[in-house]
């Protein structure tokens, strides 16, 4: 009965998949994963500080600020996914990455689609004052 009720973790048996957010259990891995969290924290702090600095600075060309903030946010989400949730490109993470890719697709469709349609509607609609006048 090796397959069913496989509750514990067997350090000698290599697993084919890894749960997202999971770590390996042995001693060396604990030190290594602690290092992973520290690197992730350092990168995240760096990106956050840069984002808060850029949002208020007058040193850079103003129209570039939203784009810079957007790029920094994507970068920070990547840091969180890679270093905190341990979503990597390794073969033990294929399922997790595929699920994430599907999620990103839906999120992108939802946000880009909504903005696209709504700006189009806004563009084609009469200004509110004109509608008010026509109703009188």
């Amino acid at each position: 009965m090796s397959h069913v009720a496989d509750e514990g973790h067997h350090p000698n048996v290599p697993e084919a998949d890894r749960a997202p957010g999971d770590l390996r259990a042995d001693r060396g891995e604990i030190v290594r994963s602690l290092r992973t969290y520290l690197i992730g924290l350092g990168l995240a702090i760096l990106i956050t500080v840069v984002a808060f600095f850029i949002a208020r600075t007058t040193l850079v060309w103003q129209p570039s600020i939203p784009i810079a903030l957007f790029v920094l946010a994507i970068a920070q989400m990547g840091v969180h996914l890679a270093f905190f949730l341990h979503i990597t490109t390794g073969p033990d993470n294929t399922n997790n990455v595929l699920a994430l890719a599907f999620g990103v697709l839906i999120v992108g469709l939802l946000i880009v689609g909504s903005l696209w349609i709504m700006t189009n509607l806004n563009h084609n609609m009469l200004p509110m004052e004109r509608i008010m006048q026509m109703q009188r």
């Binding site: 957010g21 602690l34 903030l69």
Partner: protein, 222 residues
């Protein structure tokens, strides 16, 4: 137990080589027949979290569409205090880190590491929630509640929904501390700890989007 197992061992055959490799018990693939329950639970919860992110993306789309519709009321520039938001961000980011340390502590079955970093996570999360509720109360007090304009409705829905998630996460956190205390580092409890830490990290990812889109861009553009 040989080849009599008929059920779907790995129904999707993703990255596991060909079928023949399973049949050979001495193959290195033999251990890959069935993922452990921990992996299945983690994967299922990951899918739930992604669906939660999809739900948040609907709120983000709503906010992005309505962010300019202030109806003559106050806009983001008048309402948001970036200093407070920076402290909130620091709280949540550090709590995500301590939550990761807690999951190391749980895997290593180290009481001090687990309870200590879970308690730190709870304190930081509660600090975040306190600052957010204070911000909401301050806005409502000056007449900038969710009924004032479409912008504020969208703001309170999006940020409030995240705050609600943090509240539920805090309750879950305390439950996990109590369960480990009462039942020890059992495999099923450790699976719940894994799911909780994924949930908490995901809340931080959503907060990254919120502080960027709502606060930083809101202060800059309006």
């Amino acid at each position: 137990m040989s080849d009599t197992v008929v059920g779907p061992r790995d129904p999707y055959h993703i990255g596991h080589g060909d079928r023949a490799a399973w049949r050979d018990p001495h193959s290195e693939h033999a251990a890959r027949d069935l993922a452990s329950k921990r992996i299945i639970v983690g994967y299922g919860f990951w899918i739930f979290l992604l669906s939660d992110i999809v739900m948040f993306s609907a709120f983000f789309a709503t906010y992005a569409v309505l962010s300019g519709e202030t109806a003559g009321g106050p806009g983001g520039k008048d309402l948001f205090h970036l200093d407070i938001v920076a402290i909130e961000t620091a709280c949540l980011l550090l709590s995500s880190f301590t939550c990761g340390i807690a999951s190391i502590g749980a895997r290593a079955r180290n009481d001090g590491l687990y309870y200590g970093s879970m308690a730190a996570t709870a304190v930081l999360g509660a600090g975040f929630l306190f600052l957010e509720l204070r911000e909401f109360a301050g806005m409502i007090a000056i007449g900038a509640g969710p009924t004032r304009s479409a912008f504020l409705s969208a703001f309170f829905t999006l940020v409030g929904c995240h705050g609600l998630h943090v509240t539920l996460g805090l309750m879950w956190l305390l439950t996990m501390m109590a369960q480990v205390f009462a039942k020890g580092y059992r495999a099923d409890i450790l699976r719940r700890v894994l799911c909780f830490s994924m949930f908490w990290h995901t809340l931080d990812i959503i907060w990254v989007a919120i502080f960027t889109v709502v606060y930083l861009m809101g202060v800059g553009t309006q």
